[in-house]
Amino acid sequence: MGISARWRAVIAVVVLGTAGLLYYLYDPARSQLAPKCSFKLLTGWDCPGCGAQRMVHSLLHLDFASAWQANPFLLCMMPVLILLGFSALWRNRYPRMYATFNSPIAIAAVGVAIVLWTVLRNIF
């Protein structure tokens, strides 16, 4: 809104850096302070993002095997998420990429993948 692009970048870097440092230093599987998933506590089922904190912790320690164990779907989605952010930021420069990633089919595919993953991880 009223914030300039430079300040937005500074804020993003500070927030991401602090969060990254915290998740690097503390293991969310052992720490009491790590927020727990409301969906899992209320229903007993895993939500699509359950394991995300453990995955970030493992990724920051470059332990890809345990990252895969924590949440394989989110690990596969990481490149997609990065590309999504890139296409939104560089919308003027790469309009075709933006149009592709934001086409109804692509969005529906992402939504269906998330719902499918939620169902499958709770069945198996």
Binding site: K36, M77, P95, R96, A99
Partner: protein
């Protein structure tokens, strides 16, 4: 050959930008030199008594004309944002039910936009934004409620 390829790519990009209702920003836009224009304007009134033959001709601008972005913004508006990245992050990290609603609205933004329903796309974009905020707020409220309880139960 290189030049032809470049312009073909630019044309393609312009077409895609047009579908999104945007003005395509070329990687290296033609440089517009304001100093030149000013000197050309100030030259003519200061020396009116000089004979026409001795007067230096105004510099010819060989660059393509500078396009005013404001003029194009008034004509058409770009596709409203789908907030897809935020919708996915909100679904995965904050609150799944509200996030799924946001993803459905995000998909509706682009399907309505490409169908020509600009007003509907704008509404869907606004709804997606609202549901993302709802999802994030629910996630934060839950953490704020849960943290003290978990510390007490420890």
């Amino acid at each position: 050959m290189e030049n032809d390829k470049e312009t073909a790519k630019d044309k393609q990009m312009e077409e895609w930008a047009g579908r999104l209702g945007m003005e395509y920003k070329r990687p290296e836009p033609p440089k517009w030199n304001p100093v030149r224009e000013e000197s050309a304007e100030s030259d003519t009134p200061v020396t009116p008594e000089m004979p026409q033959s001795q007067q230096t001709p105004p510099p010819v601008n060989t660059n393509p004309p500078f396009r005013q972005p404001e003029a194009n913004l008034n004509k058409r508006e770009p596709m409203p944002p789908t907030y897809l990245l935020w919708a996915v992050l909100a679904t995965i990290c904050c609150c799944m039910p509200a996030g799924v609603v946001a993803i459905v609205f995000a998909s509706s933004v682009s399907s309505r936009w490409f169908a020509g329903d600009i007003e509907g796309a704008r509404k869907a974009s606004r709804n997606a934004e609202i549901w993302i905020i709802v999802s994030i707020v629910l996630g934060i409220v839950w953490s704020a409620v849960y943290l003290p309880i978990s510390l007490l139960l420890q």
